[in-house]
């Protein structure tokens, strides 16, 4: 009898130790993961620096009032637990989550929210976020009736509304107040700050930053969020951001297991070795879907600079750009440049931006004859038989295209363009430049044409006003116009300002659809394909919810865990 009991006990112990994870097993607590980043973080203060590593660090160490879920694009309560909005959408009363503390133990209150907004709009601070937190051109105002409530006022109705607050990390008043008062906020919390000086409400805290090597983050024991089972988050004990500037070395380390994940997507040429690593059971390859950004090709259309250029007379005609759009075979483009992993697009908004993409955007099907007819219509024909079209005065359609040196995708893309346009008589000379030189020329309109992928900061068009508005700093074919240079740009200006102020989502979508139509008809910038984004991470990772926006996995870092 006793033997039987012992046997049963032993059996029970044996069965217990043989832990085959059941599908509903709780994520394991503890462990560390290593992610790679491409550059040094410029600062720990997101309010004054907009580089990607700083953005990532802020996501990991700081909290916001509300969060836009990067996978579902829904607005989620975060540091604000619930809110009431007025009928006209201009006043929102947010109730802060009770019991939240900073990582150094101080209590989180509405004073911190007021402080952060004050810092954003302080002229000495020169915050990079100032332009993104406007409603009707006016700063967002906030007041705090008590320590747990904040009242946000928009000066004018704002389409995105509370979603704008996803851009604002809340910084600790007790740590930065002195710097703001003394006018030193712009240099506060720079990357040389000792980690003990930092505090946040995010899932991790900075343990150490070794310049040139890595940033080490430990879990924040005072993190407010709880797991589904009521236990504390994050699951991980440590998160290391390894600085690996070279993409091939990064890939090698990913394959060998030294890194668990990268913060950028894979290139199409990396697909094969990653697939093999997946077959060997080391990595998991996921397709994120179509990316929200596409490579752009445009001519500088600034009359003040290009007015005297004889080619400008025909470049400024929309028919010229429409002809180019007809001449490019987008299928071939996708196959050659992205090895088939791309979809054709005809505008800056891609199918990857599900909320705002308009499938019926006017298309320009591949038709060389139509392209040539359009060119002939504005007086461009090959009169001397040398394969290049020219206008009546003999000015040839020959352009120098700038692109960034060293990016395989750009080099392949512009090579395909050169071939496709050569067939209809437009000659492109390619000048790959190093990044700094290229940017300098772009800002000065010191170029004929450019091929580059500017990344939009926000999927919501109201977050990209500097691209759409003619006075915008990202309206790159004709930067920062004092008054709209063309009639259609004026119409886009009007529509965009309307949709930014409209509260009805359906109306906003209609207005933006109209904008996309005007853009497609006048084609100031040509888009050809939007790449599918692939991503890989180590099989150790659990709880991965991928997103097409960067960072693809770490946006949800508090729910990541490692396999037992």
């Amino acid at each position: 009898m006793a033997a039987g009991l012992v046997a049963a006990l032993l059996l029970a112990l044996y069965l217990r130790s043989d832990e085959t994870p059941s599908p509903a097993a709780a994520p394991r607590r503890g462990g560390q993961i290593v992610a790679s980043i491409r550059g040094e973080p410029r600062s720990f203060n997101r309010l004054v620096a907009r580089d990607q590593p700083t953005e990532l660090l802020t996501i990991l160490t700081q909290g916001r009032l509300v969060r836009i879920n990067r996978a579902t694009f829904e607005l989620e309560p975060w540091l604000a637990e619930k809110w009431d909005s007025s009928a006209d959408g201009r006043v929102h009363t947010l109730h802060l989550r009770p019991g939240v503390t900073w990582s150094d133990g101080a209590a989180f209150t509405s004073a911190d929210v007021l402080f952060s907004l004050q810092a954003v709009f302080d002229p000495k601070a020169q915050s990079v976020l100032a332009d993104s937190l406007l409603a009707g051109g006016q700063p967002i105002r906030a007041t705090a009736p008590d320590a747990q409530t904040v009242v946000i006022r928009f000066a004018a109705p704002s389409g995105p509304g509370l979603r704008l607050l996803d851009n604002l990390p809340i910084l600790p008043r007790h740590k930065l107040q002195d710097a703001l008062a003394a006018g030193r906020f712009a240099s506060a919390w720079s990357s040389g700050t000792p980690p003990a000086e930092l505090a946040g409400t995010g899932p991790f805290v900075v343990r150490e930053y070794q310049p040139g090597q890595r940033v080490v983050l430990d879990r924040n024991p005072r993190y407010w969020r709880r797991a589904a089972d009521g236990g504390p988050l994050p699951y991980l004990d440590r998160l290391v951001l390894e600085i690996v500037p070279e993409q091939n070395a990064e890939l090698l380390r990913l394959q060998s297991g030294e890194i668990d994940l990268t913060t950028g997507e894979l290139r199409p040429e990396d697909y094969v070795p990653i697939r093999q690593a997946e077959e060997r059971g080391r990595l998991r390859l996921i397709e994120l879907g179509v990316g929200p950004d596409a490579d752009a090709f445009w001519f500088c259309l600034k009359p003040e600079v290009k007015g005297k250029d004889p080619r400008f007379a025909f470049v400024r005609r929309p028919e010229f750009r429409q002809a180019i759009s007809h001449a490019v075979d987008r299928e071939t483009f996708a196959e050659t440049v992205f090895l088939g992993a791309a979809v054709p697009v005809w505008g800056p908004v891609t199918p990857g931006n599900r909320g705002w993409f308009w499938p019926d955007v006017p298309r320009y099907p591949h038709d060389d004859a139509r392209a040539r007819a359009l060119l002939a219509g504005i007086g461009l024909e090959d009169r001397d038989g040398n394969g290049v079209v020219e206008d009546a005065r003999g000015t040839e359609a020959r352009f120098t295209v700038l692109t960034q040196r060293g990016i395989g995708g750009y080099e392949r893309g512009i090579a395909v363009l050169r071939e496709e346009l050569g067939r209809i008589g437009i000659v492109l000379d390619i000048a790959p430049l190093e990044f700094g030189a290229m940017i300098q020329r772009m800002l000065a309109c010191d170029y004929d044409a450019m091929y580059y992928r500017p990344v939009a900061s926000d999927l919501d068009p109201a977050g990209n006003m500097d691209f759409w508005l003619s006075a915008g700093s990202a309206h790159f074919w004709n930067l920062e116009q004092r008054a709209p240079a063309t009639d259609w740009e004026r119409r886009i200006d009007t529509l965009m300002l309307e949709q930014a102020a409209s509260l009805d989502p359906e109306r906003r979508r209609q207005q933006f659809t109209a904008v996309q139509r005007i853009f497609a008809e006048n084609v100031p910038v040509l888009y050809f394909v939007a790449p599918r984004m692939y991503y890989a991470h180590s099989v150790r990772l659990r709880g991965v919810v991928p997103s097409v926006q960067r960072p693809p996995v770490l946006w949800n870092a508090d729910s990541l865990s490692v396999a037992p």
Partner: protein, 322 residues
């Protein structure tokens, strides 16, 4: 005499450092684009202006130079845009890392190259031919390829870490464990740096010892009955060191100013990699600081080289005295 020689060299070294860093500053202004390109194409005008003011780019090149000179005399070399901290500390730490690597690479290259060169240059055996062949192979492989191959081998075999100077866990280690960790990361970049230099030493040593063995005084000693081993080591070798010493100083200087290719591929946080990142980002004061440190190292290296040369060839010492 030695004191005067040293004093002159030190003075020249300072002038070199000054001229090099000033030239770097000026060139950085001449090259298109500046540090504000790092802010991305869509930075606001205020951001750009603020950054330019912070790095004195709104002044004329000569005005900026004078300002920098004034601060440098107080050992303030400005701030780095990339790393947001004073250039002084960054360059010092990177220089120390590179010095460690350089010392290791030099030691390995000397320990491998000189004896093997003596061996292969003094006889015609199969071993000599094998050494010569290996040297030729190492010499014919550019350092970029060597480092890529080594990193690839390390990554696939996982015998050694495939890059970096410390592991992630180094943070919590004690001194002794930290040293062991660095020692584990050292072989990869050291080999990549040392192999071509070892091959150079081997080739030069083989050639010069071959030449030296043909000298009349060696023949005379051999006729006197000196044993072959002694002939080589005690008579021919010291004379054969001349070209090696010439290259030695240069090798020290070059290693110290950092082979950026190797440091880049193996992610060793040294001066070469820092300089490369600074150049790419147009981080003007960091570039000047790195150039200054590189100049200093080169001056030190060539000084050591010249001293070695004088030590190896007494006639030079006399010439210096005269």
């Amino acid at each position: 005499m030695l004191v005067r020689f040293l004093a002159r060299r030190v003075a020249f070294a300072l002038v070199l450092v000054l001229v090099v860093s000033s030239a770097a500053l000026l060139l950085a202004r001449l090259a298109p684009g500046d540090v504000t390109s790092q802010l991305g194409p869509f930075a606001s005008a205020g951001e750009v202006a603020g950054t330019r003011a912070r790095f004195d780019l709104d002044r004329t090149p000569s005005g900026q130079w004078l300002l920098w000179l004034g601060r440098a005399s107080r050992f303030d070399f400005g701030d780095s845009f990339l790393y947001n901290r004073p250039v002084r500390g960054l360059v010092a730490r990177a220089a120390a890392n590179t010095a460690v690597l350089a010392a290791a690479a030099l030691a390995v290259a000397t320990a491998l190259g000189i004896p093997l060169g003596m061996l292969s240059g003094s006889r015609r055996s199969a071993a000599a031919a094998l050494i010569r062949g290996l040297s030729l192979v190492c010499l014919s492989l550019p350092p970029l390829l060597t480092s890529l191959v080594l990193v690839f081998i390390a990554a696939t075999t996982r015998w050694l870490p495939a890059g970096g100077m410390t592991s992630v866990d180094a943070l919590d280690m004690r001194w002794s464990a930290w040293l062991a960790d660095v020692a584990l990361h050292l072989p990869l970049p050291t080999l990549a740096l040392a192999l071509p230099i070892a091959a150079t030493f081997e080739r030069l040593q083989a050639q010069s010892i071959g030449d030296a063995l043909q000298q009349p005084f060696v023949l005379a000693a051999s006729a006197r009955g000196v044993a072959p081993r002694d002939l080589i080591v005690r008579h021919a070798w010291p004379v054969s060191l001349r070209p090696i010493c010439a290259v030695y100083g240069l090798a020290i200087g070059a290693l110290l100013s950092g082979s950026f290719v190797v440091e880049f591929v193996t992610a060793w946080p040294g001066l070469g990699r820092l300089m490369y990142e600074a150049l790419r980002a147009r981080d003007i004061y960091l570039v000047a600081g790195c150039a200054a440190m590189g100049g200093l190292f080169l001056a030190v290296g060539s000084l050591i080289g010249d001293l070695l040369l004088a030590a190896a060839d007494p006639r030079l010492r006399e010439r210096r005295a005269g």
